[in-house]
Amino acid sequence: MIELKGLHKSYITGNNKLHVLKGLDLTIEQGELVSIMGSSGSGKSTLLNVLGILDSYDKGHYKLNNTLMSNLTEKKAAHYRNNMIGFVFQSFNLISFKNAMENVALPLYYQGVSRKKRNKIALEYLDRMGLKNWADHMPNELSGGQKQRVAIARSMISKPKVILADEPTGALDSTTSLEVMDLFREINKEGITIIIVTHEKDISERTNRIIYLKDGIIESEFISPRKISETVGTYRN
């Protein structure tokens, strides 16, 4: 599903060259629920941006769904983002002058789905998030948890292969954070690959696979305790 080999990425700011990703190898299979952890500066956000085709890389290769993601034109990149990837951000990134339903429907606008149809689909997704009654509210009328659920609905509406979440709970209180994580687990059960970047341990523990990043390479990798207990539980039964 996702295959990274020897991935390098550096940023040049003025005369300084900042080498962020230093030959990263990573494979994520379809349907996985992965969290990427690491201290700030470890390169986890950069990795997520490369995975989301929001940013380019310098060396190595990145295959998404067996397609090599390199030297993409803007148009092609936009197309892949639209069809294969859903994004969830820490600061929600909803468009402030559009209501919840319009925000959710936006990816379908870029697929050329008619307004009526995409608004109907958006309502269905909002319903799944328990936000049907909030459909015509503007983002500033929603709580943080509600906003993030709108953002998740938006990331799902185009039926992507993978959802990339950058600190999705960073701006939420702990109860809401856990609710959002439950939502992710639920979505994951439908077979959508989910990659969550976080620095919160209890968030990462709710994923199935935890990858620790340090200085631009993978330091270590674990199957999360929860996954182990689930597996063991299944085995026992």
């Binding site: 989301g52 380019s56 148009k75 197309h79 820490q90 990134n93 468009i95 606008y109 870029y110 938006r154």
Partner: protein, 413 residues
């Protein structure tokens, strides 16, 4: 390009960003409005001043006899120059680009004119038929003096509409009636009017010159000659004047350098000077107008740059969701085109409305301001220019915004 969904998207963006829409629109509408007011006022001023000249043909030249001031071939200065029919005939022969010519004999004695029991004092002009076009005295009823009147020395008269008003109080049509000039009856054959601010121009009575010379002891004397020639530049016109003078000098035995022997009033020259002055004013108005348009363009550009800057994050979000660079650029541009065209149209309408209101409220006899016409093609091309430049101004930042990597645009500030 035309896609209802896209327009709905643009309309919803415009609706939700009223202030910036207003600001962009305002600078465009203001630019067009100012341009129209400027051009209209300039034209109004020009028309107003022009109307003072309309009384006579713009290219008419008037020649009056004077008194010599220089000795010439043994003749002492102080000799009166007298024009005769021969001068009229000679000019008619000599000038090749002659358009119209008429001579005039001034009747001595009172200028009292009567119709039955009504009396009035009016200017009596004895003329050739061409005077109609030199004085711009066009008949509104009946006809002007014609060649047969001259040949047969008929006792006919063409009167001004103000003469009719003064003498024919009983409402009877003057045509065919007889008015008396110094006791001699003349049949009224026409009534003329003039587009003039000067009532004197409409209080005249025209009679054939031949009749006047015969009845009022004129012999072959004439008192002045008026003529018009085909379009000439100022230089040509001056040379023409010199030639006229030389011709009279040769035929009347005076020094052609003598500038008191005959007088020439050259309207053509006056008009040309006036036209030159107005060309200057027009140029000035255009410079200001173009300045206004440039200010509008700069205004639109500034706002478009700010709009794009303000929308960077939104554009980043849209790109992350799957917007192509072209869809970003085109939506920014279409928004800009929509706003500038609409605002330009409003400016156009407001400007035209204001000029109409001014035109209605200016007193009809104003000597300074009249008919502030607006050249619609200029106004519309200015609007189009503003739209194009607004588009261009929006294109550059929009293009840049579309090129920004979404990750940069999304970075929290």
């Amino acid at each position: 390009m035309f896609d209802i969904d896209k327009w709905q998207e643009i309309f919803s963006t415009i609706q939700k960003n009223k202030l910036r829409t207003f600001l962009t629109g305002f600078s465009v509408a203001w630019g067009i409005f100012m341009l129209i007011v400027l051009l209209g006022s300039g034209k109004g001023l020009e028309n107003g001043i022009h109307s003072n000249f309309d009384a006579d043909a713009a290219n008419s030249i008037w020649i009056f006899p004077g008194q010599t001031s220089k000795p010439y071939k043994g003749i002492q200065p102080g000799k009166y120059v007298r024009f005769t029919n021969e001068d009229y005939e000679r000019l008619k022969r000599e000038i090749d680009n002659l358009e119209r010519i008429s001579s005039r004999y001034d009747i001595r004695g009172n200028d009292l004119i009567s119709y039955k029991n009504e009396y009035g004092s009016f200017g009596i002009n004895t003329v050739h038929p061409d005077m109609e076009f030199i004085e711009n005295s066009f008949p509104i009823k009946g006809r002007f003096i014609n060649n047969i009147d001259i040949e047969k020395s008929r006792k006919v008269a063409v009167i001004g509409d103000l003469v009719e008003e003064a003498l024919f109080k009983n409402g009877k049509s003057p045509i065919g009636e007889y008015i008396k000039i110094q006791g001699i009856p003349f049949k009224v054959v026409g009534i003329y009017s003039e587009n003039s601010n000067n009532d004197g121009e409409r209080r005249r009575v025209y009679i054939p010159i031949s009749t006047a010379q015969m009845i009022f002891d004129g012999g072959n004397r004439i008192n002045n000659i008026a003529l018009s020639v085909k379009d000439m530049t100022i230089d040509e016109s001056k040379q023409f004047e010199e030639r006229l003078k030389a011709s009279f000098a040769a035929n009347h035995n005076f020094d052609k350098e003598d500038d008191r022997a005959i007088f020439i009033r050259n309207n053509q020259e006056n008009i040309k000077e006036f036209q030159n002055a107005f060309q200057g004013i027009r140029l000035f108005i255009w410079v200001i107008g173009i300045g206004t348009i440039i200010a509008g363009i700069v205004g639109v550009s500034n706002i478009m740059i700010i709009v794009v800057k303000e929308r960077t994050k939104e554009i980043g979000i849209r790109k992350a969701i799957g917007a192509t660079p072209w869809s970003v650029v085109s939506s920014v541009l279409q928004e800009s085109i929509l706003i500038t065209s609409f605002a330009g149209y409003i400016g156009l309408v407001l400007g035209v409305t204001l000029m109409e209101i001014i035109a209605k409220n200016v007193p009809a006899d104003s000597m300074m301001f009249k008919n502030p016409e607006i050249d619609m093609s200029v106004a519309i091309s200015a609007t189009i220019l503003l739209i194009i430049s607004g588009t261009f101004a929006g294109y550059i930042p929009a293009r840049r915004a579309a090129k920004i990597k979404p990750v940069v645009a999304l970075r929290d500030e």
